[in-house]
Amino acid sequence: NAGVTQTPKFRVLKTGQSMTLLCAQDMNHEYMYWYRQDPGMGLRLIHYSVGEGTTAKGEVPDGYNVSRLKKQNFLLGLESAAPSQTSVYFCASRKSSRAQETQYFGPGTRLLVL
């Protein structure tokens, strides 16, 4: 199993450009999450999904959209990138609604918005 993979690993955008980050998991997990990590802030939840076709907002959703058309994929979109969205983005997944299930993280995507 590859686990949780993220594409791309690194990207540079200009302000106003759009892009989509792809998260894929091959563990048949129901729940998927997008976090962003900024220095001194820990990780903060952007959006999450509890199953195919469902998404919900997290703590910092503004400027992002998500889609979960297939169970194994969770896409994070930036319609009009801003310098404040420069960050490291992590995707994670977990198997089910049991509270003790572990979240597995991808390797991250580094995004620089100029």
Partner: protein, 114 residues
């Protein structure tokens, strides 16, 4: 909402010395608590987790953590630190309100000196 606080931003220990990283949580009921480690430029790896039962939890790489309800704490310990333990450590609590997404502390950066 569930939250965690990591009071120490940076900690420096000598190789071979013992280590304790502090984590305090805020939650009325029994929390689901996690410790993750992040090496520079890497993703997050689960060290251990607590959701019920024995309050002393053993994890990987020789780490353990103790859940103390009376002190609202979940401190991470290791008897003898190795240089390879230098990393960022995050305490997290699962948020029932957002699909068991993790609310992370801001992290503690561990430096190990010879």
């Amino acid at each position: 909402a569930q939250s965690v606080t990591q009071p120490d931003i940076h900690i420096t220990v000598s190789e071979g010395a013992s280590l304790e990283l502090r984590c305090n949580y805020s939650y009325g009921a029994t929390p689901y608590l996690f410790w993750y480690v992040q090496s520079p430029g890497q993703g997050l790896q689960l060290l251990l987790k607590y959701f019920s039962g024995d309050t002393l939890v053993q994890g990987i790489k020789g780490f353990e953590a103790e859940f103390k309800r009376s002190q609202s704490s979940f401190n991470l310990r290791k008897p003898s630190v190795h240089w390879s333990d230098a990393a960022e450590y995050f305490c997290a609590v699962a948020s029932i309100d957002s699909g068991y997404a993790l609310n992370f502390g801001k992290g503690t950066s561990l430096l190990v000196t010879p």
